[in-house]
């Protein structure tokens, strides 16, 4: 691990200008050290491209013997299991299970809604993506990242090896921010990275029917899905009151509300309904869903919430 990874900033503080990429995302030395012991679990065998640590659906060249058969004259002796002869005194042909890597694609929402409330959600989203990118690279998988808002931007990767982590962190920190979310562009970009695990980090503030094509496109591309929903403390527990005109940060649409206890209860009910619909949508696409309070310390989110939701595991 590079020493530059030791920089830190507390949640809610703006990253220091000129700081290292890890520090800009708030990834401290101890968080990265802890991440090295974790991996992103995959439910199924992968069809990657480069040797890695995951079981492949192809016969390949790993040391895991998938199958064997008796040698017959005329067989290709390059695939002869000569060491088996040394042990058993019989000749077998090797059929190996490939161990290949997978590609963890990180799609980070950079729309205007993420920058609301002092950009708490945006910083957390980028930091979570940075942590998962490091997790993938440290597990000998590939990692790629992109931002999405009106269009998919800042695409980088896939990259391999822990030494590539600073490049990914810098790309995540530099993703352009603002605009309104164009879910169609995210769906269209689903197959641009190699097949593997797609991690979507967003507030998912949209009707589930808008999100359905996005999840369908990523599944069609052969990816497993992980949805990380980042919400700000103010969204989870609004402190507004009185008669207000609420303006949507992305669409500019406004609604007039008179806020009291009843109205706030209705808000919480609408949020719970949306959470249930999102959860049901995630289940229907076999996606893991995790909702994160952006106000929590990053260490607790990365090493607590992600592990608890089995987005990362030992």
């Amino acid at each position: 691990m590079t020493r530059e990874a030791q920089g830190t900033h507390a949640q809610g503080e703006a990253p220091r200008a000129g700081a290292s990429p890890a520090a800009r995302l708030g990834l401290t030395h101890d968080i990265l050290q802890a991440l090295e012991r974790l991996a992103i679990p995959s439910r199924r065998a992968v069809l990657g491209g480069v040797a890695g640590q995951r079981r492949s659906r192809r016969y390949g060249s790993s040391l895991d013997l998938a199958d064997y058969r008796a040698y017959a004259p005329g067989d290709d002796i390059r695939r002869l299991d000569w060491s088996a002869y040394a042990r058993l005194g019989r000749l077998f042909m090797r059929l190996y299970a490939g161990e290949e890597d997978t590609c963890v694609s990180l799609w980070v929402d950079t729309s205007a809604s993420m920058a609301w409330d002092q950009a708490t959600k945006e910083r957390t989203a980028r930091a979570v993506a940075g942590a998962l990118a490091f997790l993938a690279l440290a597990s000998e998988d590939r990692a790629a990242c992109a931002g999405f808002s009106g269009a998919v931007t800042g695409r980088l990767g896939p990259l391999r090896g822990k030494l590539s982590a600073p490049r990914l962190w810098a790309a995540l920190a530099d993703l352009p921010q603002g605009g309104s979310t164009n879910w169609a562009s995210l769906a269209a970009a689903a197959a641009t990275f190699p097949t593997g695990i797609s991690v979507l980090v967003s507030d998912f503030l949209a009707e589930t029917e808008q999100l359905r094509p996005v999840l369908a496109a990523h599944r069609r591309a052969g990816n497993e899905l992980v949805l990380v929903q980042v919400l700000s403390p103010e969204e989870l527990r609004p402190s507004l009151s009185g008669e207000l005109r609420l303006v949507d940060s992305e669409t500019g649409a406004s609604v007039d509300v008179t806020l009291g206890r009843t109205a706030l209860d209705a808000y919480q009910s609408a949020r719970a309904d949306h959470a249930r619909a999102l959860s049901s949508l995630a289940r229907s696409y076999q996606a893991k869903l995790l909702t994160v309070d952006g106000g929590l310390p990053l260490r607790q989110i990365v090493l607590g919430e992600l592990v608890h939701a089995r987005v990362a595991s030992l």
Binding site: G74, L80, L246, S249, E250, T258
Partner: protein, 616 residues
């Protein structure tokens, strides 16, 4: 016309908001929220109680609505599509390997790749150039830095798929050569299913690369091996059938002897499973063919042919203290019959015994080496005639020459030899494997007065050499070098050159390829044929080698060329990266005229301001 940002249409809500402003009496403090999604139920509740007012006709409202409409139109970014041409040089690698004949993409993957290439030709700009490379077993340039679309089209029309593998490494070298000294103006597009011969290391190229994956399905069941072996009641054809797909397959393996159907077996194979199936070979059969029906999307590997006569017998006498690995490695050569005896049982008269085609001495050198039959000496003790000295520690083994055919597929990287005969001062022959301590393997070809011979210095019991897969491969190569058969091992892959070694006295050698066309590859009554190389093995099927002797008698031998069964699952990526940036510009670009709409909106706002102040 297209809308570059159709979601910006949501901004059309602003028109309704403007109208609503004229309905509403109350003016509330504005507070921005990330989304109004969770607030909407509340506003619905409140709307019933909202105090509305009647909408009255107003120039201001009209102008504001018009201005907002133009702003929304500008946000939608309406644009006219225009084609974007290719500039600079584009190098296109078109995969012509066997798996590109798969029909999971209609009509074939190969046809789809050629159609893609044609589209790229159509996008060539005025001074742009294109180089086309066909990636088969031997990649070749079919059009060099050409801007003439007709010539490029003709080159593509003349392209045919091969039955061999795709050599990506060589194709990339051609692409780099085509880029010349100005790679910055070059882009590379690879049209392939990604099933290529392995690239030794991940390749980084000095220009942008785009890999366009051709193919969608990996479902394939094929014959991976077919050979004729001695059975309990005569000869038996044994085929290995493998399912490479994700779903179970049900096929029938049909056996043909001399072209006539003699047997058929049904096979149910689980995903990734394989099965051996044996058929009796009727007496008098010269060729056997096994075919799987019904055909799948890659029928090329569903047919395999083999020669029914057993391979030519090669009789080997191994004089050894009893190294089982050495004995087993020698038997791996098809047709090899290995007889062993101890050094103490060796009699000098055996050196001229015509019963053996090859002698192998391990840890022992006879006083008189064979004068007519080839021989291999392994781990020799100090010997003056061989030029070998005492044992030394040789260090890591390395090939003496790059691409030595004797070392094909022989990986010496993990071989550790603790002791080897000192051959530093030996003039035995050409060095094949060397080390810091001197040569470890030497060979010498046959001459008019001496047979071919080889000298392997490594002490097998003081090394892990015998445990490595390099060992049997090297031994088979050495055996074939020292005592070559007339034709190579029965089963060859398309495009692989084969060596033909006619016996002494041959005056004419002809090869009949599948389809019946015969070709004389050597003819002379004065000189010996030596070893001949025949490279036109691109077509799968049975090849007949006819050798005519000086007295006019002729003998025929056969070898088969089969497309090996393999997975046809298209690969999501290649181990090739280029410089940053897109290899190809988008197929079309859009010219937006939103600034004009924005200007109109501005003009309307000025008009609204004027009306407001005059009215005020």
């Amino acid at each position: 016309m297209a809308l570059l940002d159709p979601l910006a249409g949501l901004a059309g809500l602003s028109l309704a908001a403007i109208v609503a402003l004229y309905f509403l009496r109350a003016r509330r403090p504005i507070h921005q929220v990330p989304s109004t999604l969770w607030w909407r139920p509340i506003t619905l509740d409140r709307q019933a109680a909202a105090p509305w007012q009647r909408l009255r006709p107003s120039w201001l409202l009209l102008l504001q609505l018009l201005a907002a409409a133009f702003v929304v139109a500008a946000l939608l970014q309406p644009a006219l599509a225009t084609a974007q041409a290719l500039s600079g040089q584009t190098v296109v690698i078109i995969d012509t390997s066997a798996t590109m004949q798969a029909t999971d993409v209609r009509p074939t993957r190969f046809a789809a790749a050629v159609a893609d290439a044609r589209t790229l030709v159509g996008r060539l700009g005025p001074r742009a150039k294109m180089t086309l490379i066909a990636m088969g077993p031997s990649p070749r340039v079919i059009a060099t830095a050409n801007g003439d679309r007709q010539l490029l089209e003709e080159a593509l029309s003349g392209l045919r798929p091969s039955d061999g593998p795709a050599d990506l490494q060589d194709a990339l070298q051609l692409a780099v050569a085509a880029a010349g000294p100005h790679p910055s103006a070059t882009r590379l597009v690879i049209l392939s299913d990604g099933i290529t011969q392995p690239v030794s290391d991940p390749v980084t190229l000095p220009f942008p690369v785009e890999y366009r994956k051709i193919g969608v399905s990996g479902e394939n069941t094929g014959v991976t091996a077919l050979s004729v072996v001695p059975g309990v009641a005569g000869e038996e054809a044994v085929a290995h059938v493998q399912d490479f797909g994700q779903v179970a397959s049900h096929v029938t393996a049909e056996m043909f002897a001399n072209g006539n159907l003699t047997d058929a077996r049904g096979l149910r194979l689980s995903p990734h499973a394989g099965a051996d199936v044996g058929f009796p070979v009727p007496p008098g059969t010269t060729t056997v063919r096994v075919e799987l029906v019904p055909h799948d999307e890659y029928p090329l590997d569903q047919v395999a042919v083999a020669t029914a006569p057993l391979p030519e017998r090669v009789r080997i006498l191994l004089v050894s203290t009893g190294d089982l690995f050495l004995q087993e490695a020698l038997t791996l050569r098809p047709g090899a019959q290995v007889v062993t005896e101890t050094p103490s049982a060796w009699r000098p008269s055996q050196a001229s015994d015509p019963a053996y085609d090859l002698f192998v001495f391990e840890g022992f050198v006879p006083d008189r080496l064979p004068a007519s039959a080839p021989y291999l000496v392994v781990a020799p003790p100090p010997n003056r005639s061989l030029g070998t000295g005492k044992a030394l520690s040789p260090g890591p083994l390395v090939p003496a020459q790059a691409n030595d055919p004797l070392l094909y597929d022989v990986d010496l990287a993990n071989v550790d030899v603790a002791a080897s005969a000192d051959m530093a001062y030996s003039h035995f022959g050409n060095v094949v494997v060397t080390s810091a301590g001197g040569p470890v393997l030497m060979v010498r070809p046959a001459t008019a007065s001496a047979p071919a011979a080889a000298l392997l210095g490594a002490y097998l019991h003081d090394s892990n050499f015998v445990l490595r897969s390099a060992f049997p491969i090297l031994l088979v190569h050495l055996s074939e070098y020292l005592a070559p058969g007339t034709v190579p091992a029965p089963n060859q892959q398309p495009g692989t050159p084969v060596t033909i070694a006619p016996p002494p006295g041959a005056t004419r050698v002809a090869v009949t390829v599948p389809g019946g066309r015969s070709q004389v590859i050597w003819q002379s009554k004065q000189t010996a044929a030596g070893t001949l190389l025949f490279g036109r093995t691109g077509t799968p099927g049975l090849y007949r080698v006819e050798v005519t002797q000086r007295d006019g008698a002729s003998t025929s031998s056969y070898f088969a060329v089969d497309v090996p069964g393999e997975s046809i699952s298209p690969q999501p990526s290649l181990q090739v990266t280029g410089t940053a940036g897109k290899a190809l510009p988008a197929s079309s670009t859009f010219q937006s005229f939103w600034p004009w709409l924005a200007a109109a909106a501005l003009a309307l706002l000025i008009a609204e301001w004027v009306v407001y102040h005059r009215a005020g």
